[in-house]
């Protein structure tokens, strides 16, 4: 049995406390109204801002004046019009920035919240695959995986609360949830979103979310229950039950995962769509989940709790980290390259924003999630060296956080992004919560399943 070390427990509480303080700070310092934004922008970069204003104004002025050189009266009128135009543009700009800045602490929270929840969902998918594939190497790691997926119920609950808050207009993360967007004649009316409102409407969306979350959590609950019951049983009936529900879960998972990615991530940019998006999101959190299994396994092993886990098990996990990292890159590139190549305006804006405004995170994610793991984990010997794996795993996990950041931030905070206190504090809070929940769950059951049919093979697994 694992006992939750008091040091780690304290550490997780510290993370949560620091995270909460930072999150609170982020909300308190977000601008309250447009005047605050104006003051902020003026203090921040007045010269630059004024220049940008002029840059927008000059072309229209020039063309107007060349056409209407003869008429002086007309010229005056144009100048007056121009002043009004600049004023409304300025106001619109302020409003735009105000929405971005007030979204920022929410978006930071959302990225961290969905990242950790999906990470434990990725672990659950990996676990289900291992069950269905009747893998002979992984049963010694089942309890570790169950420990990590113990975060799923907690994470789902927080995530669902967040969705509800969005639905009740507490925040403006999802633009299609704003009032008047689908109402003809409203100043917020958006024809494209209105056309999608048969699918993107709050009641349907929240019901879908609850079905998905309940389905995943139900599988996790019963799978763990059966696994524990199998320990005390004298036949393999619980093992068979687990096999069946895992197979059913995987079917349910792949459908709900795809829809989930449209609902919770793609709908942040409701004017844009991509068909392989579901797979792309899946690859991202699947590799994070596998990496987390490896990290927790290495930690427990280093504390002497997993005597049956040998370097071959670690090696296998490292191979999965390597392979799925490449798979992620394949999907990242396929999505990017197809849209870049055809360059259809309504699709390409997605990547134009990311390349122009999020250049470093956008390409940095590829370096962290592809280049680094590929060069490090290609070596067989390195896959067995603990510190190499911990380093690669840390980079992969951070890289996939950045990946989710890239998916969510451009549609919510746009050019006002920054990895500052709000973002880091949100990650720290959820990391603390994750550590607390996972290691509490690990201490609830023996770390070695007793009579799994493949447990002997798994104990002597050697590659």
């Amino acid at each position: 049995m694992y006992t939750f070390s008091s040091k780690l427990k304290t550490f997780s509480f510290v993370l949560m406390a620091v995270g909460l303080l930072g999150i609170g700070y982020g909300f308190l310092t977000a601008p309250k109204d447009i005047q605050a934004v104006e003051a902020l922008l003026a203090a921040d970069s007045h010269g630059e801002h004024a220049e940008a204003k002029q840059g927008v104004a000059t072309p229209s002025q020039n063309s107007e004046t060349t056409h209407e050189v003869a008429s002086v009266g007309k010229d005056k009128e144009v100048a007056a019009n121009h002043n009004v135009k600049v004023d409304t543009e300025h106001k619109e700009h302020l409003e735009h920035v105000y929405h971005q800045l007030s979204n920022k602490p929410w978006a930071a929270l959302y990225v961290a919240c969905i990242f950790f929840m999906l990470l434990s969902l990725g672990t659950l998918a990996f676990y289900a695959i291992q069950q269905v594939a009747q893998a002979g190497w992984s049963p010694v790691l089942f309890r570790v995986m169950q420990g990590i997926t113990a975060y799923l119920p907690v994470g789902s609950l927080l995530f669902f609360v967040f969705l509800l808050l969005s639905g009740f207009h507490i925040n403006h993360i999802f633009i299609w949830l704003s009032e008047g967007v689908t109402k003809l004649g409203s100043e917020n009316y958006d024809k494209i979103i209105a056309g999608k409102s048969g699918y993107l409407n709050f009641p349907f969306w929240i019901v879908r979310a609850s079905i998905f979350l309940l389905g995943w959590n139900a599988y996790r609950y019963f799978s763990r229950k059966n696994c524990l019951a199998q320990d005390e049983s004298d036949d393999n009936s619980f093992y068979k039950k687990n096999f069946n529900i895992s197979a059913m879960f995987l079917v349910f998972f792949i459908v709900t995962e795809s829809i989930m990615s449209w609902d919770w991530i793609m709908s942040i940019d409701p004017h844009w769509s991509s068909t392989l998006f579901g797979w792309y999101v899946f690859a991202s959190f699947f590799v994070s989940g596998i990496t987390m299994i490896a990290m927790v396994t290495i930690y427990l092993k280093s504390k002497g709790y997993l005597e049956n886990v040998n370097s071959s098990h670690i090696h296998d996990l490292a191979k999965f980290m390597f392979g799925i990292s490449v798979f992620w890159t394949y999907l990242w590139f396929s999505q990017f390259m197809l849209i870049w190549y055809a360059n259809i305006p309504e699709e390409i804006t997605y990547f134009v924003t990311r390349i122009q405004v999020y250049n470093l995170p956008f390409f940095g994610a590829v370096v962290m999630n592809f280049l680094f793991p590929v060069l490090i984990l290609i070596n067989t010997d390195f896959k067995r060296i603990t510190w190499v794996l911990v380093m690669a795993g840390t980079v992969i996990l951070l890289g996939h956080y950045v990946d989710f950041f890239n998916m969510i931030m451009p549609g919510t905070v746009g050019g006002s992004w920054f990895i500052g206190i709000s973002e880091i504090a949100s990650v720290l809070f959820f990391l603390g919560l994750f550590i607390f929940v996972v290691f509490t769950a690990l201490s609830k059951a023996p770390l070695l399943p007793k009579r799994n049919p493949y447990i002997e093979e798994s104990k002597h697994f050697h590659y």
Partner: protein
């Protein structure tokens, strides 16, 4: 100098593995082991050095990547950078996504083929090569260990008979 060798023939891979371990422990030099199929762990038991083919493949892959990059850069950017459907040919990086499929395939192509050729060369395999099996049964269901004799013929024969060999032969090699 004697050019005699011992052929110890086995009919089970487990017995062969044990025999190899015993032979190593007795410090007899194993010249070669012939098996009809890969015996898992035999190389380790014989103390063979690990293969470096994977390292070769990695380097070949890098060569392929470089070749693909150079080729596309020379043809599409340097030599005749015309506008094809609005693709930006101003510099390599501008149009890189379009080149990635070729760069990838070149990498795999070089890595795979050059590694296979390296394997053939290092293991001396080619179409009209004369087969080297000392006993035709080793391609079917027998395992053969070849050990050099250094004026200790009697001792070796009795040693291999004690390791479960179904047949121990002393052969004079030319």
């Amino acid at each position: 100098m004697s050019n005699k060798v011992i052929y110890a023939i086995y009919n089970d891979d487990d017995i062969l593995m044990d025999a190899v371990k015993k032979t190593r422990a007795a410090h007899h030099h194993i010249e070669e082991v012939f098996t009809p199929f890969p015996v898992h762990g035999l190389d380790k038991a014989m103390g063979l050095a690990p293969t470096r083919l994977a390292i070769c493949a990695f380097i070949y892959g890098l060569c392929g990547l470089s070749f693909g990059t150079w080729m596309m850069n020379y043809i599409m950017i340097q030599d005749w950078s015309q506008d094809i459907g609005g693709k930006p040919s101003f510099s390599y990086i501008d149009n890189m996504p379009a080149f990635v499929p070729i760069m990838f395939e070149e990498t795999v192509f070089f890595a795979a083929h050059l590694m296979v050729i390296t394997f053939y060369m290092r293991s001396r395999l080619w179409p009209f090569k004369e087969a080297e099996n000392p006993d035709v049964r080793t391609t079917d269901d027998h395992f053969l260990m070849e050990v050099a004799v250094n004026n200790n013929e009697e001792e070796l024969v009795s040693f291999f008979e004690s390791t479960g060999a179904v047949e121990v032969k002393v052969i004079v090699k030319n």
